[in-house]
């Protein structure tokens, strides 16, 4: 295949398209313009970046013989891709024009960092999940839930910025375009519910196979993933009971995602052998 169309080349193009979208949105904000045409340009860059990223991940998936989640590079790329998918749904539903800018910046940062850190892209070999599609689904859902938590971190950051601007009476510039505090709080709550639901389902699927071969998952990975899930679940309960709300809730969501991101490395490095169980008939 031509080197122009390698998976990494496509992922570079995708990262640059995200960057172009981010710069377009930033330029519009600094000029205090949020016209429909500028939003269309921003969204066009993001759609193009997402399509090219999907093409890159498809090529990588073909090469590894499954969902491309075989190393940190692929996981981070998949998280960025997932966040963009969610933006296309959430951004349209809630008319959050600024969310496009934040998602573009987030996807650019994740994509570029994963491309620039060469040692993250060290493969585990072909068919890392073995022939079991359930394990692949478990992994894909888990990483997708990280995409949701990533977007939750972004909307939490937006909430904190809006809260700060209103508290300190600094209302111009970027703050002028942010959605209201109540809207952001509701979005955060829904996003948290979705993330917890996806992660619960993913862990449920994983657990169903893990009990058949407890040696298939290292203890650090088990502790780390269950801890992340448990903390997010507690967070959801606290929000539901109105014990943790508004800016404090947003702070915890933001911090929790940083912790969850940091857990990806240990989780990935503790994957030591393939799961080759097949469903019982």
């Amino acid at each position: 295949m031509s080197p122009l169309f390698t998976d990494r080349a496509l992922l570079w193009v995708s990262a640059l398209l995200y960057l172009a979208g981010f710069l377009t949105g930033l330029g519009a904000l600094t000029r205090r313009q949020a016209s429909a045409s500028l939003r269309t340009v921003l969204n066009s860059f993001l759609v193009a970046g997402w399509v090219v990223q999907m093409a890159g991940l498809y090529l990588r998936g073909t090469a590894v013989g499954g969902c491309p989640l075989s190393n940190t590079f692929e996981i981070v790329q998949f998280v960025a891709w997932s966040a963009m998918v969610l933006y296309f749904f959430v951004g349209t539903a809630f008319r959050l024009s600024v969310l496009g800018l934040f998602t573009a910046g987030y996807a650019t940062a994740l994509s570029l960092v994963s491309l620039l850190v060469g040692r993250w892209d060290v493969g585990h070999g072909d068919r890392i999940f073995g022939p079991n599609p359930w394990i692949e689904l478990h992994a894909a859902l888990a990483v997708f839930s990280y995409g949701v938590f990533g977007l939750l971190a972004l909307t939490s950051l937006m909430h904190l910025l809006q809260n700060w601007s209103l508290k300190h009476k600094k209302l111009n510039g970027l703050f002028w375009f942010l959605p209201s505090v109540v809207q952001l709080d509701q979005i955060n709550y829904r996003m948290l519910m979705l993330g917890v639901l996806l992660l619960t389902f993913s862990l449920g699927v994983g657990a169903a196979w893990w009990v058949r071969d407890t040696a298939s998952v290292d203890l650090p990975k088990l502790i780390m993933t269950v801890s992340v899930w448990f903390v997010y679940l507690v967070l959801l309960i606290l929000r539901w009971r109105s014990r943790l709300v508004s800016a404090r809730f947003a702070w915890v969501c933001l911090m929790m995602f940083l912790v969850a991101l940091m857990s990806l490395g240990p989780v990935n490095s503790s994957r030591h052998h393939e799961v080759i169980l097949v469903p019982e008939r």
Binding site: R32, L166, K169, L171, S180, V181, V182, Q183, V245
Partner: protein, 348 residues
């Protein structure tokens, strides 16, 4: 022999040129507007016209066959309104052709308004045009000029920041409420004190669709009177703790020398509804709301100075946009004028 070209004209006076006393005389009520319109229809040589009549301006836009018609028109305006010719000479203006288009663009875009960037004027221009169109006072020239005016005004509104930010204390407060709650329909507004500024704030919130309004005053009779005017509920200051706990937005404007809304009262109310933010607007001097309440989580407190400062910042930003808007309108006027000139019979 070639026919004489027609002239697109503007005759009138505005707050820029006429003192209040003259504007008061020039103001056209329905009867005088009808009389003037009848005079204009009967004036030989006047082919099309529209009357724009607001509190800050009386302007006649029209197309006349020749310059003589314009002096007849000026007489008609002076006679109808009782303004002397000398007064009109010093306070009025007459514009022709290209300058008329440029002026109308500027007026409809809010650049010529007393409060730069206000949007009400565009509605008034549209209303004036619709009124004239329905009575067949307009023709091909004015129809084209006004349609292009509306397009230009819309372009200015969407492509510049001329209308960005509110510039009165009450509307700034409503704008801030929008940034806290988004949709104001489900919000509950409590107004403490039934004074003029409190009622103006109520009107501003109602115009943005605020869900329910409660007015609290020292006496129930006063509160009920104000609530009847505003279309809300009434309560007394004795019931303040419950009223505060149920409110999302509180605007306070009493003449009390002490804090009416203390930090403890606010803290206790917030505890009863932790998931909802509370927006406090202190419109009183001396202040009604303890400034320490601003430190509470999920509570946003703005006093008169804060709101006035935001209004001033917004106005300064609007004024900074004027030059940009004028450049855009100049381009659009230059693009339109050749077509209008052709319709008027001017040589190319």
């Amino acid at each position: 022999m070639e026919p004489h070209p027609s002239v697109l004209f503007l005759l009138g006076a505005s707050h820029h040129t006429a003192p209040l006393a003259v504007r008061e005389k020039l103001a056209l009520d329905a009867t005088r507007a009808a009389i003037l319109a009848a005079r204009l229809q009967q004036t030989p040589g006047v082919r099309e016209f529209t009357l724009l009549n607001t509190c800050n301006r009386v302007e006649i836009y029209g197309v006349a066959q020749d310059g003589d018609a314009l002096s007849v028109l000026q007489n008609a305006l002076c006679e109808t309104t009782g303004v002397s010719h000398a007064e009109f000479e010093s306070a009025g203006f007459l514009r022709h052709n290209h300058d008329t288009v440029a002026h109308l663009f500027s007026v409809a875009s809010g650049l010529d308004s007393q409060i730069v960037g206000e949007t009400e004027i565009l509605g008034q221009v549209k209303e004036a045009y619709d009124h004239a169109l329905a009575r067949r006072w307009t023709g091909p020239v004015l129809n084209r000029v006004f349609q292009k005016t509306f397009q230009a005004a819309k372009h200015i509104r969407t492509h510049t920041a001329i209308g960005a930010g509110q510039i009165s204390v009450a509307t700034v407060a409503v704008d801030l409420a929008g940034r806290i709650f988004g949709d104001l329909a489900p919000t509950k507004v409590l107004v403490v004190g039934a004074g003029e500024i409190g009622l103006k704030t109520v009107q501003a919130f109602q115009s943005r669709g605020a869900g329910s309004i409660t007015i609290a005053s020292r006496t129930l009779a006063r509160a009920e009177e104000a609530a009847a005017l505003a279309g809300g509920w009434a309560t007394t200051l004795d019931d303040l703790p419950d009223a505060v706990a149920g409110a999302d937005i509180i605007a306070s404007s009493t003449s009390s020398p002490d804090f009416v809304l203390t930090r403890d009262l606010i803290a206790a109310s917030v505890k009863r509804r932790p998931a909802r933010p509370l927006f406090l607007i202190d419109l009183a001097l001396p202040r009604d709301v303890d400034p320490a309440a601003a430190q509470l989580a999920n509570v946003f407190l703005y006093n008169l100075d804060d709101l006035a400062e935001i209004a001033e910042e917004n106005l300064a930003q609007r004024e900074a946009e004027v030059a940009k808007c004028r450049a855009i309108l100049a381009e659009r006027t230059a693009a339109l004028w050749p077509q209008v000139a052709h319709s008027l019979g001017h040589a190319r």
